[in-house]
């Protein structure tokens, strides 16, 4: 690792052996500056947004702005929600990475930058904020679009800590 470049430390990982409705990372170590979540996966059926919620907070405390390219058009939108979207799963594989900055700080709202890609669908960049100063100790990933569709077997979520 070159000097001056922050190192990734593997914190947790799950590869689904069968379909699942949600994945939870809890008791997250507070020893790092940032978190990076790498996701690679598919949906059991249909297409839906993969949403993230911190510390069991289901209030309308999440805001974001995104830009998206479908291959034929580009668009951007923003809003306030009860969770943050960090990917879009469908039958073909979507991969992405979410950077969660200063997650252990207790004096600032939490900012996220997310990139996710599906070569059959779109490329997306998203900036998000959790309007809460609490340190992030857990988060859950789930189908934010509603319905009964789940994460398909083989879906992987890997969590890394980044040192300052």
């Amino acid at each position: 690792m070159p000097a001056g470049v922050s190192a990734y430390t593997a914190l947790a990982n799950v590869t689904l052996g069968s379909s699942a409705a949600s994945v939870t990372f809890s008791s997250i170590s507070q020893a790092y500056r940032d978190l990076v979540l790498v996701s690679t996966g598919t949906a059991t059926s249909n297409s839906w947004q993969v949403s993230m919620r911190f510390n069991s907070d289901s209030g309308s405390n999440y805001t974001d702005v995104y830009m998206l390219g479908t291959g034929s058009s580009a668009l951007s939108a923003s809003g306030t929600f009860s969770a943050i979207d960090i990917s879009f799963f469908r039958s073909s594989v979507t991969s992405g990475a979410t950077n969660i900055f200063d997650y252990s700080a207790t004096n600032k709202h939490k900012t996220l930058l997310t990139r996710y890609d599906n070569a059959s669908d779109a490329t997306v960049a998203r900036a998000s904020r959790w309007a809460n100063t609490a340190a992030i100790t857990s988060f859950v990933l789930f189908n934010g679009s509603g319905g009964s569709e789940q994460f398909a077997a083989g879906t992987t979520f890997a969590l890394y800590g980044v040192s300052a």
Partner: protein, 173 residues
């Protein structure tokens, strides 16, 4: 994240930059790319996986050029296209890209995520986000970068990193 290898074009440039015999001991690959064409005006560089020029690459791009945004795509292409500097951009500037390839040893098609920029001290610039796919179930052991014509300029460089995921630590319901 572990540095696997760095390749750099020396004096006179290089026809290609290649990363070969990529170890199969990591989970994901990450590349930092800094390239400029020696003589060609082309503002894209081609990436080939496993020296494979078959028509199995596809991608969707989101572009911003400082004035407008747009989106375009390619399918059944014979190489993966990444924004990079041509010889016409401002002297001493290089195009840069970050490339992420998850699960590169797996037996599924390979996703490729790229953030790239064409550097230029002028109004004509480009920032590009790319969703890519290499439609092959073969593990990735080699990556080659080259311009469609001409050499890469001296000092073009590519660093390859390996990332190893952890185990456990999450609950499933």
């Amino acid at each position: 994240m572990t540095l696997i290898s760095t390749v750099t074009a020396g004096s006179g440039g290089a026809a290609s930059l290649s990363l070969t015999s990529i170890p199969q001991t990591f989970t994901d690959l990450f590349l930092q790319v800094s390239c400029r064409a020696a003589t060609a005006p082309t503002t894209t560089i081609l990436m080939y996986v496993n020296n494979n020029g078959a028509s199995i690459y596809s991608q969707r791009n989101l572009d911003g050029d400082g004035a407008t945004t747009g989106s375009n795509s390619a399918s059944s292409a014979s190489g993966f296209v990444i924004a990079a500097n041509g010889s016409g951009q401002t002297a001493n500037t290089f195009g840069n890209a970050s490339v992420y390839i998850p699960n590169y040893t797996g037996s599924t098609n390979k996703s490729i995520s790229v953030d790239s920029v064409l550097e230029n001290n002028a109004t004509s610039v480009l920032m590009r986000l790319t969703a890519g796919l290499y439609a092959s179930t073969t593990a990735i052991t080699q990556l080659d970068f080259l311009y469609a014509s001409g050499n890469l300029a001296q000092h073009s460089t590519i660093s390859l990193y390996g990332i190893t995921k952890g185990s456990g630590g999450a609950s499933v319901s």
